[in-house]
């Protein structure tokens, strides 16, 4: 008798779950209506980086990149990039780019500074399509190129690209 009641309860639960799930399906399908797809490799990002580096040897020092280990909201991932060596009137950053290596369009943004800036420290929020490396490159006024990168694990879905 008790098991019979249990069975009925289970059936009701299953039917109820189906009812709740059904209206969600069209929404899930709608979220797929985008031509955005993650890139298979960082080739396009590397091409943009090579163009920016323009033959210099990128230095793995002097530039810092702050990125969360987990992007729990992939549509707004906080990223901070700053030149950690001292900025002076003789030594300053001219240009800086941020690359999201596997995004459909890897170049996330470009910054340009001047001698008057007296600093090179920026933070933005990125949309990331999946787990990837984020890379930053900075060109100093003496032609040196500084390079920094970090990996971020992006929670699935909801990228909104």
């Amino acid at each position: 008798m008790i098991s019979c009641v249990d069975m009925n309860r289970r059936q009701v639960m299953v039917a109820g779950a189906a009812l709740v799930a059904a209206p969600l399906l069209p929404d899930a399908a709608q979220a797929q209506e985008t031509t955005a797809a993650a890139r298979k490799d960082s080739a396009e990002s590397d091409r943009i980086a090579a163009e920016f580096i323009a033959g210099a040897t990128p230095l793995r020092e002097g530039l810092s990149l702050d990125l969360p280990a987990l992007g729990d909201n992939p549509s707004a991932v906080p990223v901070r990039v700053w030149v950690s060596e001292e900025i002076t009137d003789q030594n300053w950053c001219e240009e800086l780019i941020i690359l999201a290596e596997l995004n459909p369009m890897p170049l996330a943004c470009r910054f340009s500074f001047s001698q008057a800036s007296g600093a090179a420290d920026v933070a933005v929020r990125l949309r990331l399509i999946e787990t990837m490396h984020v890379r930053a490159l900075a060109r100093m006024n003496d032609g040196r190129v500084l390079d920094a990168s970090g990996q971020i694990t992006v929670a699935a879905g909801g990228c909104g690209l």
């Binding site: 209506e33 985008t34 031509t35 955005a36 549509s75 707004a76 991932v77 901070r80 900025i87 999201a100 995004n103 459909p104 369009m105 890897p106 170049l107 996330a108 943004c109 470009r110 910054f111 340009s112 500074f113 001047s114 008057a116 800036s117 007296g118 600093a119 420290d121 920026v122 933070a123 933005v124 929020r125 990125l126 949309r127 990331l128 909104g160 690209l161």
Partner: protein
């Protein structure tokens, strides 16, 4: 303007040579051009194209966002306060200037 930019400055009266930090956010859809509408047509790209900050006659920062920048773009930057002047910030997209804001910087 319906949605003026939100702006925060670490100091409007910095000491000479002090590094001033600025945080600013503007309302913008940042449509990537990669999404499709209900009929399957691509929604045209509509992104913020440029943000520039000047102090007096000096350009402090130019920022050129692309599609990977989040909706309602947020920008944080710093500059060295060398002299008093007006910090002017301009956001623009394909339709021209979207928003402008000014803050007086007075050396203490």
């Amino acid at each position: 303007m319906a949605n003026p930019p939100r702006i925060w400055l670490s100091s409007e009266t910095p000491a000479a040579g002090e590094i001033v930090r600025v945080r600013a956010q503007v309302v913008h859809i940042m449509e990537s051009g990669l999404r499709l509408d209900a009929a399957g047509n691509a929604i045209p790209r509509d992104t913020l194209e440029r943000f520039s900050a000047t102090l007096g006659d000096d350009v402090i920062l130019d920022w050129f966002p692309e599609t990977a920048i989040s909706q309602n773009p947020y920008i944080e930057f710093t500059f060295k306060a060398r002299e008093s002047g007006v910090l002017k910030m301009i956001w623009s997209d394909q339709n021209g200037v979207l928003a402008e804001a000014e803050r007086a910087i007075t050396l203490s």
